[in-house]
């Protein structure tokens, strides 16, 4: 019987304690951040969309190799010895044309593993998070400054150069080998 009234008492008492707390919170200012109107300042280490400072990229493919997801694809073609490919901001000479540098943000897992190995620190994470899209294909970003046409050109150039070099080599070889062959045969 005592238990019976104890139960009633504890039920009522705890309910009132709870109600007191919630009532108090009616007058506590809300913690809500009113997002589109108010945007909080994000910390400086914020990890959101990747950005590639393409001027500095030397096309070393380190980031693509570090990526666990393989959402980065870097296509490069060697520059001709006659061409000037420019320098990075640290004064390193570039040797490769980066014909395409795409990051698929629909696959990216924002883990920052690609940032650390970069020798020129040209790939880094920014605090831009507002880039949702109606189409998935728009989430594939190409950072290369070369237009596809230019890229084709560079590829063709290098292929031609290679071919020329190969031809030269072959000619050289052709000039050098017959006697050797002949001597072997003998």
């Amino acid at each position: 019987m005592i238990q019976y009234f104890k139960n009633i008492y504890s039920a009522i008492a705890t309910i009132f304690i709870g109600m007191k707390i919630t009532f108090k919170h009616l007058f506590v200012p809300a913690v809500t951040i009113q997002y589109p109107d108010v945007k909080p300042k994000l910390p400086d280490r914020e990890r959101n969309r990747l950005y590639v400072n393409f001027d500095d990229c030397i096309g070393c493919d380190q980031c693509a190799r570090a990526c666990p997801v393989e959402c980065i694809t870097v296509d490069t073609v060697k520059g001709l010895p006659t061409e000037d490919l420019g320098k990075t901001s640290q004064g390193k000479k570039k040797a490769l044309w980066v014909t395409s540098f795409t990051i698929d943000f629909a696959k990216c897992c924002y883990c920052q593993l690609c940032v650390f190995p970069c020798p020129t620190e040209c790939i880094y994470m920014t605090d831009i998070y507002e880039f949702s899209e109606y189409e998935r294909s728009n989430l594939i970003y190409n950072f290369s400054i070369l237009t596809p046409k230019e890229a084709e050109e560079k590829k063709a150039n290098y292929a031609r150069f290679e071919a020329e070099k190969a031809a030269e080599k072959a000619a050289k070889a052709a000039a050098a080998t017959p006697p050797a062959n002949a001597s072997k045969e003998q």
């Binding site: 997002y35 589109p36 998070y129 507002e130 880039f131 949702s132 998935r136």
Partner: protein, 163 residues
């Protein structure tokens, strides 16, 4: 909008302002299926929690898909789950919208290459309206996706649905 499709072959003032009203009501009361899949679901919960407060946009979770307007695919869709998602989507009443939240549901995300049991993108089973990138997206990013969706609804028309 099926019934009204042919009645208003031409736009007029009446139709457009009615349209605006209806679009406004739809976009400001997007009830969501209370449905989480994986990591992004926690971020979705954080979005509806005090700091970001989904309720400000009129989004409240409804547990029954019948009463919901929007489904947020929040996380990895596995092959086992894909059929269920399709079914939940089919159970929802028109007009209905889909937000694909996070890399996993956009395209399989980190699991696209070796994930033998992961569906590579939820758009293989249901049509997606907005893709929110991120892994997981910040709550703000999800809200931005929602605003994008509202923008899309605002431009919808009784006469013909802009897909």
């Amino acid at each position: 909008m099926g019934l009204l499709d042919k009645q208003f072959a031409k736009e007029s003032i009446v139709v457009t302002s009615l349209e605006d009203l209806l679009n406004w009501s739809r976009l400001s009361s997007l009830w969501q299926v209370g449905f989480g899949l994986a990591c992004c679901a926690i971020e979705m919960m954080a979005t509806s929690a005090s700091h970001y407060d989904f309720d400000r946009f009129g989004v409240i979770p409804r547990n029954s898909p019948r009463q919901a307007d929007i489904i947020i695919i929040s996380g990895t869709v596995t092959l086992k789950m894909a059929t269920r998602i399709k079914r939940i989507y089919e159970q929802m009443a028109d007009p209905k919208y889909v937000i694909s939240m996070g890399s996993c549901s956009n395209s399989g995300g980190p699991y696209w290459e070796h994930g033998y049991h992961v569906l590579k993108g939820v758009d293989r089973v249901i049509p997606v309206d907005v893709y929110v990138p991120g892994c997981p997206p910040r709550p703000e990013a999800l809200l931005e996706g929602l605003l994008k969706l509202q923008e899309k609804i605002r431009n919808e028309s009784l006469v013909k649905k802009t897909a």
